[in-house]
Structures are given as structure tokens and as C-alpha cells.
């Protein structure tokens, strides 16, 4: 038996979406400008994008680049962050470097990277990799640093070598924090994916969006924004499911349940 309160809580995200669409519809009818289609017009344009084979190939290419960039970042950033967290020398070497790179919008590097590597997949994947790496490094660093010394001592007394302690104590102990970084990274990957395609206009979801903008197909523009948003929500919810199952043992984190899971 579901109580009305629980039902309300469960359906809150859905209600928020419907509310947003209604507000959009009303605002667009009131403003009545060509560049701001109504919500219904935008929704009607969604099937024509998703039904078009070329669009699907484009979106698929975007997702592929995002997945590769994110995976590379995870493989590179987690070990680096953990090493920084545990070894002072590594932290003092990389910290200033990262501090310099952190505030630079990674998409701003895109034109230079395009000069070197062209407008193809390599450039875009590299920008996604750069954008995603920093939060994952940072959270892995914090997580690694926070591992209780006594936990490592307990492991050392059992006979774990320092490499074993890194893999079998530091990594699992820091996992909740690492995954928080990965979640931020996932959202950033999506953002950098679109911006990279906005600059290197060759293929992808961002390309569909900006081509439509050039041709004043505003319903397609807004439909594409909705598709990217929905993709973000889906990926985030899927990731939260994964994260929940990986760190069930950890203390519940009181973050905003920004997901539909």
C-alpha cells in the first residue's frame, strides 16, 4: 500500500517536468516569437529527429566519443588522484599543474587542439577527456587523502604490501568519493561533448542542434535540447543505480536525489 505522501515523493520529478513544460508552453504563447517555439511544437519535432537514420548515427557518434573520453579519464584520473592523496611528493608536483588547468574552459582549447589533431574524433574525445579528468582527479585525491591511517596500519599488520594496500584498502575506502567525482564527470562529459561539436562542426548531437539553428528550424533546436537533457537524466539515473550497488556499505550521503532512480 503506497501512502499518498510516498506517491507524491516518487512522482515529484515527473511533476516538475510537466510543470516546466507547461510554463514553457504558456511563456512561448505569450511571447509569440518565431525563435521560441511552444513545448508542444518541440515535442512534435522529437520523433522526426529520432526517426531519422542520419541523426541517430550522429547522436550515436556523440555518445561513443563521450564514452571513450570518459573511460580514458576514469582510467587515468583515479590512479593519479589516489596516488596524489597518499604520496605527498606526487601531490605537490601535480597540484600546481592542475590548479592552472582547472579554471580554463576545456572547450576553449578546442581550436588549438583542432589545429594539431584536426576536426575529427580524436580532438573531440581529447577535449572530453580533459574536461572530465579534473573533477575525478580531485575527488579521488580527496578520497585517497581521507583514508584512515589506522585502517592502513591494520592492513599492514596483516601483511599487505604497500601496493596491495593501495589496491585493496585505499581504492575501496575512497570509492564513494571517487564515484561522486565520476558522477560530476559524467555530466561534464555530456556538456563538453556538445560544446566540442559546437566548435568542430562535423558530426554529432551538437552539430544537429547548431545546423538547425543556422537554418532557423527552432522546433528542431529545442527538440534537440530536450533529447540531450533526457540523455543526461537517463545516464545520471543509470550511474546512480550502479553507484548505489557498488557502495551500499557506505554511510548514506545526503545529496539531492537528482535522478529518477
Amino acid at each position: 500500500m503506497i501512502t499518498p505522501r510516498a506517491l507524491l515523493q516518487k512522482s515529484a520529478p515527473l511533476l516538475a517536468c510537466i510543470g516546466l513544460l507547461c510554463a514553457w508552453q504558456v511563456a512561448s504563447l505569450l511571447l509569440n516569437t518565431e525563435s521560441f517555439p511552444t513545448a508542444l511544437e518541440a515535442i512534435r519535432a522529437v520523433p522526426s529527429i529520432l526517426g531519422d537514420k542520419e541523426s541517430l548515427v550522429n547522436i550515436g557518434a556523440s555518445i561513443r566519443r563521450m564514452a571513450i573520453g570518459l573511460s580514458l579519464a576514469v582510467v587515468f584520473a583515479i590512479p593519479l588522484g589516489l596516488l596524489m592523496g597518499r604520496i605527498k611528493g606526487v601531490a605537490s608536483f601535480f597540484n600546481p599543474l592542475l590548479m592552472v588547468i582547472y579554471p580554463v574552459p576545456k572547450a576553449a582549447l578546442m581550436p588549438i587542439i583542432m589545429l594539431w589533431l584536426g576536426v575529427g574524433d580524436v580532438s573531440k574525445t581529447l577535449v572530453i577527456f580533459l574536461g572530465v579528468s579534473l573533477p575525478i582527479i580531485y575527488h579521488s585525491f580527496q578520497g585517497g587523502k581521507a583514508v584512515e591511517e589506522k585502517m592502513l596500519w591494520s592492513g599492514a599488520a596483516m601483511g599487505l604490501s604497500s601496493a596491495q594496500r593501495m589496491f585493496r584498502i585505499v581504492l575501496p575506502a575512497a570509492l564513494p568519493e571517487i564515484l561522486t567525482g565520476c558522477r560530476t564527470g559524467l555530466v561534464l562529459a555530456l556538456i563538453t561533448m556538445v560544446t566540442s561539436e559546437m566548435i568542430a562542426r562535423q558530426s554529432g548531437a551538437g552539430n544537429i542542434l547548431f545546423n538547425a539553428l543556422d537554418m532557423a528550424q527552432y522546433d528542431t533546436v529545442f527538440a534537440m535540447i530536450m533529447i540531450i537533457g533526457a540523455l543526461g537524466i537517463f545516464l545520471d539515473a543509470a550511474f546512480e543505480k550502479l553507484r548505489g550497488s557498488l557502495v551500499r556499505w557506505s554511510k548514506p550521503q545526503h545529496d539531492i536525489p537528482l535522478s529518477f532512480s
Partner: protein, 282 residues
């Protein structure tokens, strides 16, 4: 009634414990520990500590906070290396942690991603014990510390007292020759503390491991120990080593009424008060 033997010489010669031939398990030889503080200054945490602990003895280190008693335990554990002097276990100089010395910390330091059974099995699996064998042994140990039925719980789901029981079982599992207990009951409420003291004594009576037990509770030290090492603060030195000559097995209810127990507690408290006065006059 036996008089409290107070020795100013910390290098107490090992005396045989009743009925058991004594051999030195731990030998701490002129150990000093200096820490770099902010700036160029250094702080002498331990000064010229020498102490011999017999095989099978229960020895407590008692002192005010900041006297370096935990540091001394960490040196024996091999977690910290001394600035000066050498600590030996079974005659071999200590160069790092090892499974012959099992620590139990006030902070429990359980592995939160492992359930209770997984925590207790961890050391055994690391020693190469087969899974089924490690599991059987761990289940038995958990029963011994009163946690049967909690095998699948995660540390976050346990109370402080239960966590410390798991930590004790986890350390006992890989069968260290020495138990190093760093204020293990310091974070627990009075009732839980008493129960764990009783249970620890019962466990200890069975296999008589060497125990080095750091505490700031005089009653706890007298109740549990064969010897109580009283330390002074800044720099940490051994003030006296008190032999606790009370019969075993000890029963709390009887002991609390025992005049000898009471005198030990009062005498040691007085010693610690003197330690405080030393600071004021220093």
C-alpha cells in the same frame, strides 16, 4: 598483604610469572621519539624508554594524554620508527608491521566495505588460508566475541561496542603473538566498556597472548594487567612499573571489594597526581 612494588628503574628484570617460565617477548631498548613541530622546533615525545615484556604477560601503559604512550605502542607495532634506540620482538629488531603483532585501535579501523565476516576473514585470507577454512575459523571467533548472527552486517550497522568486538576478532583471527591495544575501549560508554573488559580477560585467559594495552583509566589497567607502566608527560618517560599481584582468573565483582585492588588503584592514582605536580614545578 603484599606491598606494592614500585621500581624507579624501568629496566625491570623479567620476573617469572606464576608457574610459567618467562622469556622476553618484547624488548624496548633506550627508545626516544622526536617529532618535528611547525617551524624548526622539535618535540621530544618519548625519552629513553626501556622496557621488557614477558611472553604471555598483560602489560598496561598508563599515563596522561600526550605522554607518548600510544606512540610507544606504534613503535612496537612497527607503524612508527623511533628516532633513537631499538625495539625488538622475540629478539628481532622491529623494522615494520607484521602479523606477529596485531593492533586493535580506539577508532576500530574496520574495513567498511566488508561485512563482519569479511573483516574477520581478511587477515586469514591474506595469510593464504583457504576460504572455507578461514570462514569456519572466523565464524567461531565471532561466536566467541558474542557476535553470532551478525556475520552479514556491515560496520556502519553496528554499535561502537560491537565494532570493537569485530576488530578484536579480526586481529585474533591471524593469531598474532602480541596484541597491541591502543585505548581500545576509550570511545565506548561505561557499561559497554566493562563488558568488553570482562570478555577480553576471558579470551586472554584461554591462550595467554602477550598484550600491550594503552589506557588512561587506572581501574582498567589494574583490573586487566600483570604490570602497569606509569608514564610521565613531556617528555614521555617511564616513572614506575607496578607489578599487579592479584590472583587470576579475576572476577570483577570480587576484585572491586578486594582491598589489594583498591590500594593499587589509589597508589597509582597518587603516582599520576605526582606526575601532574612535576609538570607544574618544571
Amino acid at each position: 598483604m603484599k606491598v606494592v612494588t614500585l621500581r624507579s628503574d624501568a629496566l625491570a628484570e623479567s620476573e617469572p610469572l606464576s608457574g610459567k617460565p618467562a622469556s622476553a617477548m618484547i624488548h624496548i631498548d633506550r627508545v626516544s621519539q622526536r617529532f618535528q613541530t611547525s617551524g624548526r622546533q622539535s618535540h621530544l615525545a618519548l625519552s629513553d624508554i626501556s622496557l621488557t615484556i614477558d611472553d604471555g604477560a598483560f602489560v598496561s601503559i598508563l599515563g596522561p594524554s600526550g605522554c607518548g604512550k600510544s606512540t610507544l605502542l606504534y613503535i612496537v607495532g612497527g607503524f612508527v620508527s623511533p628516532s633513537d634506540g631499538v625495539a625488538r620482538v622475540k629478539g628481532k629488531a622491529i623494522t615494520g608491521p607484521g602479523p606477529d603483532r596485531g593492533p586493535v585501535f580506539q577508532e576500530f579501523a574496520l574495513f567498511p566495505w566488508k561485512n563482519v565476516l569479511g573483516n574477520v576473514m581478511y587477515g586469514l585470507r591474506q595469510q593464504g588460508v583457504k576460504h572455507s577454512e578461514a570462514e569456519a575459523k572466523s565464524r567461531k571467533l565471532l561466536e566467541m566475541v558474542g557476535l553470532k548472527g551478525y556475520e552479514n552486517f556491515y560496520p556502519k550497522e553496528l554499535s561502537g561496542g560491537m565494532k570493537q568486538r569485530v576488530a578484536i576478532a579480526r586481529t585474533l583471527a591471524y593469531n598474532p603473538a602480541v596484541l597491541l591495544m591502543d585505548e581500545p575501549f576509550g570511545a565506548l560508554d561505561a557499561h559497554t566498556r566493562t563488558r568488553l573488559q570482562n570478555d577480553l580477560l576471558n579470551i586472554w585467559e584461554r591462550d595467554r597472548k602477550t598484550v600491550l594495552f594503552v589506557t588512561h583509566s587506572v581501574e582498567e589497567a589494574v583490573f586487566l594487567s600483570d604490570k602497569v607502566v606509569v608514564m610521565t608527560r613531556s617528555p614521555g618517560r617511564i616513572k614506575v612499573v607496578v607489578d599487579i599481584d592479584l590472583p587470576r582468573p579475576r572476577k570483577r565483582a570480587e576484585l572491586l571489594l578486594d582491598a589489594r585492588y583498591q590500594k593499587y588503584v589509589v597508589d597509582i592514582e597518587k603516582l599520576i597526581d605526582d606526575t601532574g605536580e612535576d609538570e607544574i614545578h618544571a
